[in-house]
């Protein structure tokens, strides 16, 4: 049963991802990416990470993709759709490079052992993926990275406002 769910969700995610690349209109590309993200959040549920799955839908499929769609609709959608590449050889080069990276990654991932993954020293209560446990680890062991990401977000906000401002 779990295997079936994995193949259905994974296949959906993969096809949606290929559609993101193959689509010539940016708007459909973004919609396809949303489908891919939703399928991935289903995979998180299979991995027993319900909180991550919810955050994936709320933050990624909700906030970030709405931002993308807003910008796509704000800028001229018709000029965006008409951009075509004259140099055909570049696309073959891209596919060859992607296949090379895939072969390299496959050989690397085959030797991967799950026991080598970093473990947290905080005791686990009520399932690894439970929100309470995640929050406990986040605010004790990973407090410094957490505070640094808030500074990073502040910098990104200021940078985005400065960059997108209309010059007087």
């Amino acid at each position: 049963m779990e295997t079936w769910f994995f193949f259905i969700l994974g296949g959906t995610a993969l096809l949606a991802a290929i559609n993101v690349v193959a689509q010539s209109r940016v708007f459909y590309s973004a919609l396809s990416l949303i489908l891919c993200l939703v399928a991935l959040s289903g995979l998180y549920l299979l991995l027993e990470a319900p909180f991550i799955a919810a955050v994936q839908i709320i933050v990624y499929a909700g906030a970030i993709m709405v931002l993308f769609l807003l910008v796509i609709m704000l800028l001229d959608p018709f000029s965006a759709q008409l951009i075509r590449d004259k140099r055909k050889y570049l696309s073959y080069l891209g596919i060859i490079l992607a296949a090379a990276v895939l072969i390299f990654l496959y050989r690397f991932l085959q030797t991967y052992e799950p026991t080598m993954a970093p473990k947290t020293s905080t005791p686990v209560m009520g399932g690894v993926g439970s929100p309470g446990n995640l929050g406990r680890v986040l605010f004790s062991e990973y407090l410094l990275p957490f505070e640094m990401t808030s500074v990073l977000i502040l910098i990104a906000i200021i940078g985005a406002v400065v960059l997108a401002r209309r010059r007087p």
Partner: protein
């Protein structure tokens, strides 16, 4: 369910995103592919998923601001037209 299946799936999706970055000519398409790639290293380690999501959100905000500024200055979204720094 073996963890290797998840790893192979994320490698596949990552490669699709990487190919998209090379193939596309539209700035927004390239951003979408970068988002796709950022999503796929997340299958292991739940705390790190958070940090990757935060960085992706910050990257999306700044990237879209750059896109708007580029469109305002050049009137196009084709990356080949933004070649001022290309020698």
């Amino acid at each position: 369910m073996d963890i290797h299946y998840y790893l192979i799936l994320s490698a596949l999706l990552f490669v699709v995103g990487a190919a998209g970055v090379i193939l596309k000519k539209n700035v927004i398409s390239i951003f979408l592919c970068i988002e796709l790639m950022l999503n796929l290293d997340q299958v292991h380690g739940q705390i790190f998923v958070f940090f990757v999501m935060v960085v992706a959100a910050a990257e999306a905000a700044v990237g879209l601001a750059i896109t708007i500024a580029l469109y305002r200055h050049r009137g196009t979204l084709n990356v080949d037209d933004a070649d001022l720094m290309k020698w």
